[in-house]
């Protein structure tokens, strides 16, 4: 197709009735991917704050060895809801928001493939969020079985009510799955079919590759969790015996269903953040992404490997020896494609003309955390070591370095990097740097002590512990409160910059990419004219333009 074909607006897509500049559009059923993207991000961040408050209550409880601030039952509900909110209500919607906002801009599309489906998928997020939080107020309180809801613990229903914390939990998770599948179908279709003319696969920005890899995992893995959740819900409400061992059921089968999705889910979370790193490092190093093709292909390798490692969560679940060996091997093998990426980012930054803006600092901090988590990850992949630290704070420390260290810092990097594009205004660099310092210190202060605690044998998910663990717990709790405080300069910065920040201009970072060629904030239709891409991304230090200035003479895609 030539550019001229796409020039004329289809009469079937009338202009949106809402005024583009009003803040009210964020509270409407808008089908604009940019509005939906921001809706996702802001909603998810509200849940992030809520989950963070739960975590701070837990750290407050753990500052002394006795269970004195909250009792054991409340504590069980707290860690269950903390984990569930952070995964299903914060990371997935947040990353869907980033993908929603950025992917159509980066591939040169006017919107997602299915704008209405997109809006429906978003509006399910507040619905299942409310359902989940409502479980605090039902008799018996919220689910206490941890975010993985293993039977037979999750099959206990002491109150005897049909509507209890666990059934609401399952309902919310199932709805979250429906929303995620809608999002995944939409994003995959958009990336496959709506790229601008000339944008071949190897001219697509790395962020789009990682989003595609992550959404493929959603499509393959999520139905398995849905299957397990449906069976668990039937056990709990109807009285079937799929996972009830006393009546012939198999609780370990649930673990397989659960981890077949929920291990790859961590790659759903981290892959788009890898994409953010791949976008941010070249801009602030003024160098092309090192080994672009290998980096993007390694994303698909991670997708493939991620589907065959899930049993490493079940080394202590009566798993036979050959299975332990096999999954130990595959788990270690997945560090190869991730190692490729880490190497490429270091090589990108190496010798570059660095600008340490807030986004760059957060990306570097996220990379550091990810490297640390990768090292403890290799340790945990080894079955003998894993059996030793199974269900201890070592595991908690490891995955929080991934999810809070790499993912949350990567999220902040993305927000600071694209904030001028999203709002047309510049944030305050000083507040941003303060935010980075507090976050980086807080994360290391809370999660580093968890490693010695785990090696000493402190189990996770306990409200009271032996006094010998007190020293590291006090430090971790102080770090936790610092991490809580660190969100305040961020909120202040975002709110004040959005309302009264300086005008940012269209491309304040002198970045290369389709999203930086249009005005800030982007117009409703994104591109007045669909650009024709003629060079690969990250052309820093190259004279070749990214898009053709002469659409008439352009070659076909």
């Amino acid at each position: 197709m030539s550019n001229a074909l796409l020039e004329v607006e289809s009469p079937r897509l009338p202009p949106q009735p809402e005024t583009p500049e009003s803040w009210r559009r964020f509270f409407t059923f808008s089908t604009d991917h940019k509005v939906i993207g921001i809706q996702y991000i802001v909603t998810a961040f509200v849940f992030f704050l809520f989950g963070g408050i739960l975590a701070m209550v837990m750290r407050g409880e753990l500052i002394t060895p006795e269970a004195d601030l909250v009792d054991h039952t409340v504590y069980n509900g707290l860690f269950t809801m903390h984990g569930t909110i952070m995964l299903f209500m914060w990371t997935f919607p947040m990353l869907n928001g980033l993908a929603n906002y950025l992917v159509p801009l980066m591939i040169g599309a006017r919107d997602m493939a299915f704008p209405r489906l997109n809006a429906v998928a978003f509006w399910m997020v507040p619905v299942f969020g409310v359902i989940l939080i409502a479980s605090f107020f039902v008799p018996g309180g919220p689910s206490q079985s941890g975010w993985w809801a293993y039977p037979p613990v999750s099959l206990q229903n002491p109150t005897g009510n049909l509507i209890n914390g666990q059934s609401l939990w399952l309902l919310a998770v199932a709805l979250s799955g429906v929303s995620s599948i809608m999002g995944a179908v939409n994003i995959v279709t958009t990336i496959f079919r709506m790229r601008a003319p000339g944008m071949g696969w190897f001219k697509m920005p790395a962020f789009c590759w990682t989003v595609l890899s992550a959404q493929l995992i959603q499509l393959i893995g999520l139905p398995a969790l849905t299957a397990g959740a449906v069976m668990l819900l039937l056990d709990l409400t109807v009285g079937t015996s799929f996972f009830e061992p006393s009546r012939g059921g198999d609780p370990v089968l649930y673990q397989h269903f659960f981890w077949f999705y929920s291990h790859p889910a961590v790659y759903v979370i981290i892959l788009p953040i890898f994409g953010v790193f791949s976008e941010v490092f070249p801009v602030y190093s003024r160098k092309p992404l090192f080994g672009y093709k290998v980096v993007v292909v390694s994303s698909l390798l991670i997708t493939t490997f991620s589907l065959i490692v899930w049993v490493h969560h079940m080394f202590a679940s009566g798993t036979p020896g050959w299975m332990r060996m096999l999954f130990m091997f595959t788990t270690m093998a997945i560090s190869i494609p991730t190692g490729i990426k880490v190497f490429a980012w270091v090589a990108t930054v190496w010798g570059g003309k660095l600008r340490l803006t807030t986004a760059m600092l957060f990306a570097l901090g996220g990379l550091f955390s990810f490297l640390f988590a990768g090292i403890t990850g290799i340790m945990l992949a080894s079955t003998p070591f894993d059996i030793h630290v199974n269900n201890t704070y070592f595991v908690v420390g490891h995955f929080h370095y991934v999810i809070n260290g790499a993912v949350v810092m990567g999220f902040y990097a993305a927000i600071y990097h694209w904030f001028p594009k999203m709002t047309g205004r510049m944030y305050y660099e000083g507040l941003g740097k303060l935010h980075f310092a507090l976050t980086f210190i807080g994360i290391n202060l809370i999660f580093l002590p968890m490693h010695p605690l785990g090696l000493m044998g402190m189990p996770r998910r306990v409200a009271s512990y032996d006094p010998e663990f007190a020293f590291w717990n006090v430090i971790a709790s102080l770090g936790g409160f610092l991490l809580g405080v660190s969100t305040l300069p961020f909120l202040l910065n975002m709110l004040s910059s959005w309302s009264r920040g300086e005008a940012a201009g269209d491309n304040p970072w002198r970045a290369i990419g389709l999203e930086w060629l249009i005005s800030s904030p982007p117009p409703h239709e994104n591109f007045e004219e669909i650009p024709i891409v003629i060079s690969p991304p990250y052309g820093y230090g190259s004279d070749e333009p990214l898009v053709s200035n002469n659409p008439a003479g352009a070659v076909n895609p």
Binding site: E7, V8, S10, A113, L253, A552
Partner: protein
């Protein structure tokens, strides 16, 4: 911008061509998205099938079926299977008629597909009512009703979609913008069919 764009904006014929093109792209997107969705949906069935195989292979021969139950009757389900599988061919003929703009032929074959789907659902209901065990009768009872029930819901969805498509065929010029709805319903029907074949092999033949 370029003169080509200006020209195309005024030339009504070119404008129509472009609108047709955009419509076509949208339709392709919808079909692509629907196929992606079906592939994902098949993983749910795959999970249930794998669960069934795990349960069946790990249970001992005596405690698999509920007490006093010898095994599933195969004759009536086999007739049901033949009807459902044949309906896949019938719906294909319906689509071919639509391609040739033979609207009444389409409606006839389409209605026949709906009848065959409804017959399948009726047969399923009759079988369910004749069985001496229920949803809560151990793991076999649970998996049997879960698999046949979940598949039956898909058949019901298929028949309802077919009803909507049949009604829409009476809207004048309904197919001027393509036949996405009919094509997607038909694809869904084939999908439901293939799932049933696997299910029949697993539950009825492998006893």
């Amino acid at each position: 911008m370029s003169s080509a764009n200006v020209e195309s904006a005024i030339d009504p014929q070119a404008l129509n061509a472009q609108v047709a093109h955009v419509t076509e792209t949208e339709e392709d997107n919808r079909m692509f998205g629907f196929i992606v969705f079906l592939l994902s949906e098949s993983v749910i069935f795959l999970s249930f099938f794998v669960g069934y195989i795990v349960y069946k292979t790990s249970a001992s021969a005596t405690d698999w079926f509920p007490a006093g139950f010898e095994g599933l009757e195969i004759k009536a389900p086999l007739i049901n299977t033949i009807v459902l599988v044949s309906s896949s061919f019938v719906i294909y003929f319906a689509e071919r008629c639509l391609h040739r703009e033979n609207l009444w032929g389409f409606r006839l074959f389409w209605l026949l597909t709906m009848a065959m789907g409804s017959f399948f659902l009726y047969g399923q209901a009759v079988e369910w009512m004749s069985l001496p065990f229920g949803f809560k009768s151990g793991v076999f009872g649970g998996t049997f009703y879960l698999l046949t029930g979940f598949h039956g819901l898909h058949v019901l969805t298929g028949v309802l979609l077919q009803g909507i498509m049949l009604g829409r065929s009476f809207i004048p010029n309904n197919y001027a913008e393509g036949e996405y709805g009919v094509a997607a319903t038909s694809l869904f029907w084939h999908f439901v069919d293939v799932i049933w074949i696997v299910l029949f092999l697993l539950i009825y033949l492998w006893q």
